[in-house]
């Protein structure tokens, strides 16, 4: 049963072995002595594959089109062993296409666009995390930026006290500690009505900002700045920024996938049930408090991880990260895109982050309103009111959520 799988694996390994010297090694001539040395050169192979991204994209599109109309036959002996990975494969047809395009953007975008891409990825992760509480479970969290800042400060401090700490070592700890913080904050108020949570998180964000603004440990009002080179080990052949972009993108894909699986799982259904009717959900045997706490903790953990990614990108953090405005921006992204809609909040993040960024640079805006960025929050507030009144399901919201929010009078 495993013979074919074994053969595939052996074949791949053999191919990797015989191409190894051509891809990953390079020759170094010493003309003085007439000698030659063979050295590892990872950049060489990366460059080779990066130049092939367009080809990969075409292959991915063809594969996706091929499999899109066909249900996977999991009874095939090879595929049976890979059954647990089924959800990874049974994605919409454009998923591999999108992943390749987004990841390979690291190779052809310029420096500035890569920065925008990093921040966009971080905002998308934040919006996805906040969507768990607001969209799925129906809990209003107003101080989400505090968890974001918590993760960022945690990673920055860990960097200072453990020099050379790598992000892949720190990330599970940051996720767990952020979740623990969310659990502690949510514990007192999740037993109560939903709007207490809004106020408590608001107060928590304010106090957290005060705390990190006062302690010498966190650099007071000035904040912490680290050197980027020590944190991100660049993939050979790529710059630090390109590597950061790839890290952020991979995190975005992983979190997106995890959240989709959670949403479709019994846990996700319990969350939706709580959102639609808490009392009914409770009487159906759902442990409401536990499920709410779980949602809040996961959301907080994702926020903390986004904070870590922010440190990787900007290597600078100050107390303004935990400010109310930051929370409002993330909330507006979720509300605009559609509460509870995974792709909706990503669209909302893209619109609300990129449009002001592009408008800031455009000459037209520079001429007519030089301080356009001041008007950003005003417009965000207007979006929140207008969306609630006119289209409560958001731009890409589901019809079910529309009926739930805009109940007939």
């Amino acid at each position: 049963m495993f013979t074919r799988l074994r053969n595939y694996i052996l074949g791949f390994l053999g191919l990797a072995f015989i191409t190894f010297p051509f891809l990953w090694l390079s020759l170094k001539y010493n003309y003085a002595t007439g000698n030659v040395a063979t050295v590892l050169n990872w950049a060489h192979g990366v460059k080779f594959f990066s130049n092939l991204t367009v080809a990969f994209a075409i292959v991915a599109i063809l594969m996706a089109l091929h499999y899109s109309n066909k249900k996977w036959n999991w009874s095939h002996p090879i595929l049976l062993t890979l059954r647990p990975l089924a959800p990874l494969v049974e994605q919409p047809w454009w998923t591999p296409f999108l992943m390749v395009v987004v990841l390979s953007a690291a190779f052809y975008l310029d420096h500035k666009s890569l920065g925008l891409g990093c921040m966009l990825g971080i905002y998308m992760i934040l919006a996805l995390g906040l969507n768990i509480t607001i969209g799925f479970t129906g809990l209003l969290v107003l101080g989400y930026a505090a968890f974001y800042a918590f993760g960022a400060y945690l990673f920055a401090l860990a960097q200072q006290y453990i020099p050379g700490l790598q992000w892949w070592v720190a990330f599970p700890f940051i996720f767990v500690l952020g979740s623990a913080l969310g659990w502690v904050i949510g514990l007192p108020c999740l037993r109560l009505r939903g709007d207490y949570l809004a106020i408590v998180t608001l107060g928590f964000a304010e106090s957290f900002k005060e705390l990190i603004g006062n302690l010498n440990l966190t650099g007071s009002d000035i904040g912490l700045s680290l050197s980027a080179r020590s944190m991100v080990k660049a993939i050979p052949g790529l710059t630090v920024l390109q590597t950061t972009y790839i890290i952020v993108t991979v995190f975005l894909f992983v979190i997106l996938f995890a959240i989709r699986r959670l949403y479709l799982s019994p846990i996700g259904r319990a969350w939706v049930a709580i959102r639609e009717d808490e009392v009914a959900a409770n009487s159906m045997g759902i442990d409401v408090v536990r499920m709410k706490l779980l949602a809040f903790a996961i959301s907080a953990g994702i926020g903390a991880v986004a904070g870590m990614l922010f440190i990787l990108y900007s290597s600078y953090i100050n107390p303004a990260t935990a400010a109310f405005e930051q929370s409002v921006i993330i909330l507006a992204m979720v509300v605009l895109g559609g509460l509870g809609s995974i792709y909706g909040v990503m669209l909302g993040a893209a619109l609300l982050y990129l449009i002001p960024e592009f408008l800031r640079d455009s000459q037209l805006i520079q001429d007519f309103s030089p301080n356009f960025s001041d008007y950003r929050l005003l417009i965000f507030g207007a979006i929140m009111v207008a969306m609630m009144l006119l289209r409560p399901q958001g731009l890409l919201g589901s019809h079910r959520h529309k009926h739930e929010i805009k109940r007939d009078t």
Binding site: G194, G203, F204, S207, N216, V279, L377, F380, I405
Partner: protein, 354 residues
């Protein structure tokens, strides 16, 4: 992480990696002078570290607390009648601050006097404007979404409060505006001195005005027909409408009443602190909401009691630990109240309506 290499004399060398050397700088940086009075040697010699707060701190706390109580009334009334938090209330308080300063400017040029009558008139103008904003808030953010899921009105009210903040930020001033000193100096005179501590008229004016307004509101709600209608609406909107109470108007009246009280509070705060800023409504509103929760949300005497407790705690904390931690303490109180007694000090246990 390898253990730090030992130096020859037994200790660790200065430039080597040693977390414990850094740890003592977490809370104390010897290079930086702390703002807290406790680290100043002269004060330390005179005063023992633990002492009762002086009477001016107590009075300051009461003044602050009465203002919190006044703002908290708006929160608690709206919560009592609609079961929703009025998020834009803090911003309406801020609108009161600004309209009062505008009205004072107009009045002093029109009447060319600077008497306290102007101040009264300006307060009236501020109340009218704030009431109008409160009514608009109800019409825009709450009325159409009253039957919707709880998230919808909350979100729209937050949006409205952001709009109001940034509207003032963009149209009036990015920095704090100052209250005209001509008016506040008339009240800021020393009334009497007790044990070397000055008490001025302004503090007593604020305390008196707040208590009178609270008593008036209590009387209004419990003794007048409109108040009875309000309480009826709070109990059951459908039944209230069946017995002929105009429910929509009563709810609007609740918003208007709360907003005008907030405007008075705003005027007094801007007079007391002599500045008004576009973002001051946010933090005052947050603390006033904490006061309402502490006293028991939906309960009017509770809001007053909660406000006084929060104000006293905040000022006493400032006295002992410095003003850096004033917001955190209030939040800590909120958390403790929610853990120990979520219905508040005077609140009743309310079952969820299905």
């Amino acid at each position: 992480m390898s253990p730090p290499p030992k130096a020859k004399d037994g200790g660790t060398e200065r430039n080597e990696w040693n977390p414990w050397r850094n740890l003592k700088h977490i809370f104390f940086n010897p290079k930086k002078k702390l703002r807290s009075f406790r680290n100043q040697p002269l004060e330390k010699d005179i005063k023992p570290t633990v002492s009762l707060p002086p009477p001016d701190i107590i009075l300051g706390g009461l003044v602050r607390g009465s203002i919190y109580g006044l703002v908290a009334l708006g929160y608690t009334m709206v919560y009592g009648i609609l079961g929703m938090i009025n998020f834009a209330h803090g911003e309406i308080f801020m609108i009161g601050m600004f309209t009062c300063v505008f009205a004072l400017g107009l009045l002093s040029t029109l009447l060319s006097t600077t008497t306290l009558v102007n101040l009264l008139l300006a307060t009236l103008v501020a109340m009218i404007f704030s009431a109008a904003f409160g009514y608009a808030n109800e019409r825009i953010a709450y009325r159409r979404l009253r039957k919707a899921h709880i998230l919808a009105p909350l979100t729209s009210a937050i949006g409205l409060s952001i709009i109001l903040q940034n509207f003032v930020f963009l149209t009036v001033s990015k920095d704090n505006i100052s209250f005209p000193r001509v008016y506040s100096d008339q009240l800021n005179k020393v009334a009497f001195t007790l044990g070397g501590v000055h008490f001025n008229y302004l503090q007593f004016t604020i305390l008196g005005t707040s208590l009178v307004l609270m008593a008036a509101l209590f009387f209004f709600i419990h003794r007048t027909r409109l108040g009875i209608a309000m309480r009826g609406t709070a109990q059951d909107q459908l039944m209230a409408s069946l017995v002929g109470i105009p429910v929509n108007k009563i709810i609007a009246l609740t918003f208007v009443l709360g907003s005008s009280l907030a405007a008075v509070a705003g005027v007094m705060v801007s007079m007391y602190q002599s500045v008004a800023g576009w973002n001051s409504g946010y933090i005052w509103g947050l603390k006033a909401f904490t006061a309402a929760v502490l006293g028991g949300i939906g309960n009017i005497p509770g809001a007053v009691l909660g406000g006084l407790i929060i104000g006293l705690t905040e000022d006493i904390t400032c006295y002992y630990f410095g003003s850096n931690w004033r917001n955190s303490v209030v939040f800590l109180i909120l958390m403790i109240v929610l853990i120990i007694r979520p219905r508040g000090l005077l609140g009743e246990r309310v079952a969820d309506k299905v």
